[in-house]
């Protein structure tokens, strides 16, 4: 299972080896500039600061699903962060002052390591399955599980607060 830091709490079982309640299929992967974890930006804002674009490559059987995405300015990508351990329910990220519950963090360490990324959609080529993005905050080769259009009407809540603002 790997080490645990002071104040961290592991589940009494590992979701990675538990009997799954549902199964995912990978629909493609993310091509990113980041090949080692130390370089990989921790969120989309940090990724954008690097000014490096990224791509999604959708596998052939799923490419017809891209029809109608042109004209969409931003997409929600759901990725599978399968390199992360899944058994920590309280964790202390390096930047955090104290251990926190996993569901109060965006850490990839969680029972179901699904990453949520909102990226600007620069272009769509349905024939080759390539979506060009302004930036991404995951390692090269990260599997993709879903693409959704981002709807400002339901998804943009600029007044949202985390209680951790300075």
């Amino acid at each position: 299972m790997g080490d645990i830091r002071d104040g961290e709490i592991a589940l009494p079982f590992d979701p990675a080896t538990a009997t799954p309640d549902a199964g995912l299929v990978f629909i493609g992967c993310i091509r990113s500039p980041w090949t080692v974890r130390e370089d990989c930006p921790k969120n989309m804002n940090a990724a954008r600061e690097h000014g490096l674009p990224a791509e999604v490559l959708i596998d052939a059987p799923y490419r017809q699903g891209l029809d109608g995405l042109d004209g969409v300015s931003h997409v929600v990508l759901l990725s599978w962060l399968g390199q992360a351990r899944r058994d920590l329910i309280v964790q202390k990220p390096r930047h955090a002052a104290r251990p926190r519950g996993t569901f109060s963090l965006r850490s990839p360490v969680r029972p179901n390591p699904i990453g949520l990324h909102i990226a600007r959609l620069v272009s769509v080529d349905a024939a080759s399955g390539v979506l060009a993005l302004d930036a991404i905050d995951v390692l090269d080769g990260t599997p993709l599980v879903d693409v959704k259009p981002y709807y400002a009407s339901t998804d943009a809540i600029p007044e949202a607060r985390t209680g951790r603002e300075a």
Copy 2:
């Protein structure tokens, strides 16, 4: 597999019965006012118009993961919309003028039927595992796969457009 409408396209395989690439564990469920599909709002704005609150119930082993969520105004919920078929890659929702690629829609019908819902977090009771929400747009009993804090800094893009605006 079920019927297919004019212009819809099915995958040559069904992701529901394909060998999974990754497995999910359910961490709880959503308690909603909606028990039949015909009543269930199609998105969070429609759900809010009803003025009916909802709850998330987190299963006991995962409740420590809620520590630190108090103070967070909005959460991202990822649900498992397991009643939806998974094999349509081009589909025609009843409200749509023409068939569209699945990834250009927020329909629950998709290869990995993960629902994305951004709700206002009214209260958190970590001991009982209950999150009170302002509203929800899924059926009662829908399984939950993740809770994340919503960060306006990365998740709110009010200027996003879908190209389908009037």
